[in-house]
């Protein structure tokens, strides 16, 4: 009977297309908006992936990685002295102005690494040599910086070229890959000491201390020990990630805004699919009643309707997901808007679309259960 159910469904072209269209839209809206939302959240924690360290020590009041309060330089030594810490290095993380060839200014994210160890260095240097970062006025820039800082130049910024950061000459010695920052600032890596030279002088300049737990210590245990002994705040990478994410949940309208759109996708799916499928059932009530008269049980008719609903659900979901992937491929090439689709997201959307279809089918099944087979004799 199931091929009969599918032929009944596909034979009603207008409703079939309407159902698939509605479910495609719902799947697209929910998956694409969620992917953009997750991408945006990942941008908020780009520091964690661009500077990689097991323990991040910050001022006690710091809640998230993008709002850093400067600390004293001596705090590095205090962290180093804690039992359970293998090593600790300073890190400068500050937003500075760079000057373009056409005279304009662009803000950049200046990262000053410990000159001896280069801990926090970019994960992937595309061209140039990381060691050259120790040469005077040297910087390694990310690909976004090439795009942003090349404005007004005859050719894109390359290794060996110079530009200005706060009126001081910076020489590009390498180009690296880096995750994009939430505010869209290009990453410029230099050494800690040179970073201080590029930045205006303040009473306290140290942004972060990156540390590694001693052998036999977990990052969490070492972090708690640092907090206890220094009074500073120490996060493991995992803790800092989630602390940052939750900060954005609590303090911005981003989750609400995206959540509204995702709920809207669900509502549109329910409305379009439910209404159209119910109307499809009503139009076929005479035939479904005839099937019941001919001996089809309620259970058989229910399974037929469920199959029809799940079929349009699967097709709509597939098309919606495909369109989201196409969108993702396009934006990942461009770099924005943010996009991230963890494997859980398609599974979640699949479950929601199937839920929508199940609810729509249940409405129809309820109606069919009430139909007396004798209705077919009433003309």
């Amino acid at each position: 009977m199931f091929h009969i159910a599918l032929k009944m469904l596909i034979g009603d072209r207008s409703k079939y297309i309407m159902l698939i269209g509605g479910l495609t839209f719902a799947a697209l809206l929910m998956t694409q908006q969620s992917a953009v939302f997750f991408g945006l959240l990942m941008w908020t924690t780009s520091h964690l992936r661009n500077m990689r360290a097991e323990i991040w020590v910050v001022d006690p009041k710091v809640e998230q990685v993008n709002e850093l309060k400067p600390m004293r330089d001596t705090d590095v030594s205090r962290v180093r002295s804690v039992t359970g810490v293998s090593w600790a290095v300073p890190l400068l993380c500050t937003i500075q102005q760079s000057k373009l060839s056409d005279g304009n200014f662009k803000p950049v994210m200046l990262i000053g690494l410990d000159g001896a160890t280069l801990v926090g260095r970019p994960a992937q240097v595309i061209t140039g040599n990381l060691e050259n970062l120790r040469l005077p006025n040297s910087v390694i820039v990310d690909e976004l910086a090439i795009q942003r800082l090349s404005v007004g130049r005859e050719r894109p910024l390359a290794v060996g070229d110079t530009f200005e950061i706060n009126d001081k000459e910076a020489r590009v010695v390498g180009i690296c890959k880096a995750d994009r920052h939430f505010f869209g600032y290009p990453y410029i890596y230099t050494t800690y000491d040179q970073g201080l030279q590029f930045s205006p002088k303040l009473r306290k300049m140290l942004s972060l201390v990156l540390a590694k737990p001693a052998p036999g210590w977990t990052a969490a245990a070492a972090a708690r020990r640092i907090e206890k002994e220094t009074g500073l705040k120490a996060y493991t990478e995992h803790e800092f990630f989630w602390s940052t994410i939750w900060w954005y949940f609590r303090n911005t309208g981003i989750p609400f805004s995206f959540g509204t759109t995702i709920v809207l996708g669900f509502v549109v799916g329910i409305a379009v699919c439910g209404q159209t499928f119910y109307s499809f059932v009503l139009e076929n009530l005479k035939h479904l009643g005839a099937l019941k008269a001919m001996g089809a049980s309620n259970w058989l008719v229910a399974r037929m309707l469920m199959l029809q609903a799940w079929t349009v659900g699967l097709i709509g979901y597939g098309i919606g997901l495909g369109l989201t992937v196409l969108f993702g491929i396009m934006v990942l090439k461009k770099g924005q808007p943010p996009f991230m689709m963890p494997y859980q997201l398609p599974l979640f959307t699949f479950a929601v679309i199937m839920l929508i279809c199940t609810l729509a089918a249940l409405m129809g099944i309820r109606r069919v259960y009430k139909v007396e087979p004798a209705m077919v004799f009433r003309g």
């Binding site: 009969i4 596909i10 019941k292």
Partner: protein, 244 residues
Amino acid sequence: MPNGNGNNFAVHVRNVSKTFGAGEARTRALKEVDFDVRRGEMLMIVGPSGCGKTTLLSVIAGTLNFDAGEIDVLGNALHQMPRRKVTEYRKRDVGFIFQQFNLIPTLNLVENVSVPLLIQGERRGAAEKKAKNLLDRLGLEGRAKERPINLSGGQQQRVAIARALVHEPRLVICDEPTSALDKETGAQIMELLRDIARQPDRSVIVVTHDSRVFKFADRMAEMEDGRVTRVHDVATSFTQEGEH
């Protein structure tokens, strides 16, 4: 009460009553109806509109519950059977021919005809083979893949007859089978139904208003105000009318 096995009757209806609605809207559609249908006959139920013909047909077919009385169809005591068993009875023993044909427009003819076999759980290939053979026998050779909409009313009713017979039911229920057809086509359909009724171990019950087709019946049950008032042989009636 006879159980229908081992005697000459396919259907026994005794003291059957059915009421619709409640309070002032309460309507007694069937009032202690008694009548039988023999094996191998075509019985027509006739009477004015609203006399309870279709209700009687529905309770015999097992598509409508009744309030009181006893119905035994081919050994199935409907008044004692749970709903699930009644559904099984319809699936196995009853073929339906409806006034408006009730063919599914999105299915082709062979698919429409194979539906009762598929409901019984038969495999698609085997069901469609049987359906196609029956369509061929009913004069619809080479049209198995067509949609019902491409057929005339008479052809559609032939498809509906094929669907009613494909699973070889012992009782065929027809609700106004000729009301949507012209005189000539109606006569052809009735001849076909009479041939079907004459097969051993099969009975056909027809509800109709159409006096032009009364002559095809073996017997007629006349209904009035929810009661079967008279059951008589059609051949005898026509002879008596002739004598008068």
